[in-house]
């Protein structure tokens, strides 16, 4: 297993290099530079800034400098946040994103699987309609709509929870953003789980288990749950990537210091170092998460392990 994981990780290096190279050159080809803005700078000041950040060197030389720095673990400076390097900013923001996104991931999985199972076992009955239907609201309503509504209801009207910010990191500050992040994923997982569970419950081995006199709860827990989880697990990889790379909308609305806003903000600011840094970070995260999903698959399905 360790050898397999190492091989998988090493095989991503060329992909990562190609992605960074393409991003590097596309970014530089985009119109507008990091120091263009409402206040045009005198040419000499622009030249000073370019020299300061090596932007006056030929593009290929800039690229080689960047690659050499990355190999040393240095993701370079950020134009928009000059007191912190790109690495420092990502390291500063990731714990916040991990807390919110990780909690949302766990909650979405647990709630989604539970409601999906209930929906399958009580198919076309009140519990199925109400729980599944209620969760669907989270799927059809975008987070930029749900978040302000929750802020207004629980923050402004009822005064039960803070409207935004991280505060001291206590749970009351995290509840609303976690709910907003959880809802769409919990809804998708519950739909997947419901469909998958209905299919598994109609299989012959389940009929056999029932014929042996095993109770419905044990049948589900011991025989149906594991195979029914397969499609859910394949969805968990992308869901985890989405949640752990942060959400621009949720972080912006709740004023959270995570990494979600970096990518879009940096692209708009032409903050080259930050864009490339987040690309590298996101890709590494996705690679690791996909690897974990594959390992989970192997644990769930003996056929995969054989291969």
């Amino acid at each position: 297993m360790f050898g397999y994981a190492l091989r998988r990780l090493l095989s991503t290096i060329p992909v990562l290099w190609i992605a960074v190279t393409v991003c590097f050159f596309i970014l530089r080809l985009a119109p507008g530079g990091p120091f263009d803005g409402e206040r045009p700078l005198p040419p000499e000041v622009k030249a000073n800034l370019a020299a300061h950040y090596n932007l006056d060197k030929p593009l290929v030389e800039q690229y080689l400098i960047y690659v050499a720095d990355v190999m040393k673990g240095d993701l370079g400076p950020s134009f928009a946040n000059q007191d912190f390097t790109v690495t420092q900013q990502i390291m500063s923001g990731f714990p916040y994103t991990l807390t919110i996104g990780g909690s949302a991931f766990v909650l979405a999985t647990v709630v989604g699987v539970f409601i999906g199972c209930l929906g399958a076992l009580y198919q076309n009955r009140a519990a199925d309609y109400w729980l599944g239907g209620g969760l669907l609201i989270g799927l059809v309503m975008p987070s930029f709509l749900i978040a302000p509504i929750l802020q207004l209801v629980f923050g402004n009207t009822l005064g039960w929870l803070p409207v935004g910010g991280w505060g001291d990191g206590s749970i009351k500050f995290l509840i609303l953003p976690i709910i907003v992040l959880t809802l769409p994923h919990a809804a998708r997982i519950s739909r997947l789980m419901r469909g998958s569970m209905i299919e598994v419950m109609s299989q012959n081995f389940i009929r056999t288990a029932k014929a042996k006199g095993i109770g419905p709860r044990l049948t589900v827990m011991r025989h149906a749950l594991k195979p029914a989880l397969m499609p859910v697990v394949s969805y968990l990889g992308p869901a985890a990537s989405y949640l752990l790379t942060g959400s621009l909308v949720v972080e912006s609305i709740f004023g959270l210091p995570g990494v979600g806003r970096y990518f879009v903000g940096a692209a708009l600011n032409r903050d080259y170092g930050m864009v490339l840094g987040t690309v590298i970070f996101y890709m590494l995260l996705i690679v690791v998460l996909n690897l974990l999903v594959d390992i989970a698959y192997a644990w769930l399905d003996p056929k995969v392990r054989m291969r």
Partner: protein
């Protein structure tokens, strides 16, 4: 010491600390964007100015109304030719680490500002200082040639290239803040990290979580610390204005520095007196590319300008009552008096439209030959609303407008390269003086996106720049402004307003034209 005594003293100490923290006044400010840096030579935005203006203090500082008052300097003298300013520093001024603030700290800061290696974006704001521009351009390599000299620890002499009536205003700007020479030399670029930074203003920073907040606490070494009433200030990063308003309503913010325009009516009705919408030293305008047809024709420029119904833009389209702009310099600008106005300002709108039609006809445009142009603006809801409205106002003239929006970086890149026919622009004053606005129309400056050029205008600006007498200077500038307005150099649309929401418990918040409110003047009434 007995166990009981130790316990008693410990309890007393904890109670004292707790009672202090219970009474410590904390101000929570919504501050928009994340600061680029805490280094005053690396910043360029008003949200950064809010923070740095609290932690540093220049020779001259702002009073609550944003007028210049003595800061680190207790007094100054100006030579008869108005080129040499001699500042006497206050006794006993210190950095937050207890090190004395000396004239050498100012010399060091100005030299660093102009050093090309520092790459300070705003270095050009202090180009009025002798040799500053040449040093910043690399034409003079010796930084000691800069016109800033320490006569002794307490006396600083600044020599200017030309008499500059607004120089004291320019000294309030963050580019003129001193730097702790002893720390910068010891730590290099890391001097500005939270664990290293020392400051000389009313506050010192103690925490910065990128994307969340910067926290400053009162600096006990500040010369006027006894009158600073707020102990801690948190500047929150939050660009979502609607979310900021919700957090204000929940009591999480005490001051909000921008809010959604469509909420102004709600604020007036539900939180009367808390929304402060007042004229601001900034202009919103359209430039016309005066180097190419059809906008190299004054008649076409004037026709489009006349057909803009400015009276409805502030109250109806934006909803925050921005004032219609018929001059180039905003009213209330220092050293100026009443600005010049376009000659047709008071005509009824219908008459303006008729005249505009005539002018376009004279210029060769009409139903058979409609004027087609592209209007570019940077992506933003307000810019879009205004562009759509103005395109509709031009429609009756037979003008066919194609709207084109791009992100800010691209928009200004194209504007600077002269790739626009009509383009949206805005200017917020760096210092309170008419030249800050009039320069926007001078030949060859980067901000003159429309590339309108007029020798007489340039000559008047030059003449005004050399005039020492403020009254005469204002008259000369006004002639230049009138000339630009008569020639429809650009289309002024509205004067900006500042938009703050201030909780009733915050005292001492005085509305002013540059929207600068230093925390040292504020207090909290619980």
């Amino acid at each position: 010491m007995t166990h009981f005594t130790r316990k008693f003293l410990a309890t007393a100490l904890v109670s004292t600390i707790l009672s202090f923290s219970a009474h410590a006044a904390t101000l929570n400010i919504h501050n928009g964007g994340d600061p680029t840096s805490l280094d005053p030579q690396k910043i360029s935005g008003d949200w950064e100015n809010r923070i740095d203006g609290d932690i540093f203090e220049g020779l001259v500082t702002e009073d609550p109304k944003d007028n210049p008052i003595p800061g680190q300097a207790e007094s100054w003298t100006i030579s008869p030719d108005q080129k040499v300013y001699t500042f006497k520093l206050r006794d006993g001024i210190k950095w937050s680490d207890g090190h004395p603030v000396t004239a050498q700290d100012f010399v060091f800061a100005f030299q660093r500002l102009m050093d090309p290696k520092t790459a300070a974006q705003y270095a050009y704001l202090q180009y009025t200082i002798k040799n500053a521009e040449k040093i910043n351009k690399g034409e003079i390599k010796d930084p000691t040639q800069l016109g800033v000299k320490a006569i002794d620890d307490k006396t600083l002499e600044i020599t200017l290239e030309n008499p500059t009536p607004y120089f004291l205003n320019a000294l309030m700007h963050y580019t003129a803040y001193p730097l702790p020479k002893h720390v910068v030399e010891a730590k290099g670029d890391s001097w500005v990290k939270i664990e290293n930074i020392v400051t000389n203003g009313p506050y010192k920073p103690v925490e910065w979580v990128p994307g969340s907040h910067v926290s400053n606490v009162k600096n006990d070494q500040y010369h006027d610390a006894k009158d600073v009433k707020i102990d801690k200030v948190n500047f929150y990063t939050l660009e979502d204005q609607a979310a900021a308003l919700k957090r204000y309503r929940a009591g999480e913010f005490d001051v909000v520095t921008s809010f959604p325009a469509d909420q102004y009516e709600w604020l007036q009705k539900n939180l009367p007196g808390q929304a402060h919408v007042v004229p601001f030293l900034g202009t919103y305008y359209y430039v016309l590319n005066a180097t190419k047809p059809p906008f190299n024709d004054k008649r076409v420029r004037q026709a489009l300008s006349m057909a803009v119904n400015r009276e409805v833009i502030g109250p109806k389209i934006l909803g925050t009552g921005e004032l219609p702009m018929y001059s180039w310099v905003p009213p209330g600008t220092a050293n100026y008096g009443e600005p010049a106005r376009v000659s047709w300002k008071d005509e009824p709108y219908k008459q303006k439209v008729e005249e505009a039609k005539k002018l376009l006809k004279e210029a060769g445009f009409g139903p058979d030959h409609p004027l087609k142009a592209q209007l570019r603006y940077n992506t933003n809801d307000n810019h879009k609303r205004i562009a759509v409205a103005i395109a509709a106002m031009w429609k009756p003239l037979g003008v066919d407008i194609e709207l084109y929006n791009t992100e800010t970086k691209v928009h200004y890149d194209e504007m600077q390269r002269g790739e626009v026919q009509i383009g949206r622009a805005g200017w917020l004053a760096d210092y309170n003086d008419p030249i800050n606005f009039l320069n926007l129309l001078s030949t060859g400056v980067e901000m003159n996106y429309g590339r309108w050029s007029n020798k007489d205008y340039d000559a008047l600006i030059k003449q005004g720049n050399e005039e020492i007498d403020l009254k005469k200077r204002a008259e000369i500038y006004k002639k230049a402004e009138q000339l630009a307005l008569d020639d429809s150099a650009a289309i002024p649309i509205y004067y900006y307003v500042s938009q703050n929401i201030v909780a009733p418990k915050v005292q001492g918040f005085v509305d002013n034209i540059q929207d600068i409110h230093r925390t040292r003047w504020l207090s909290i009434k619980e």
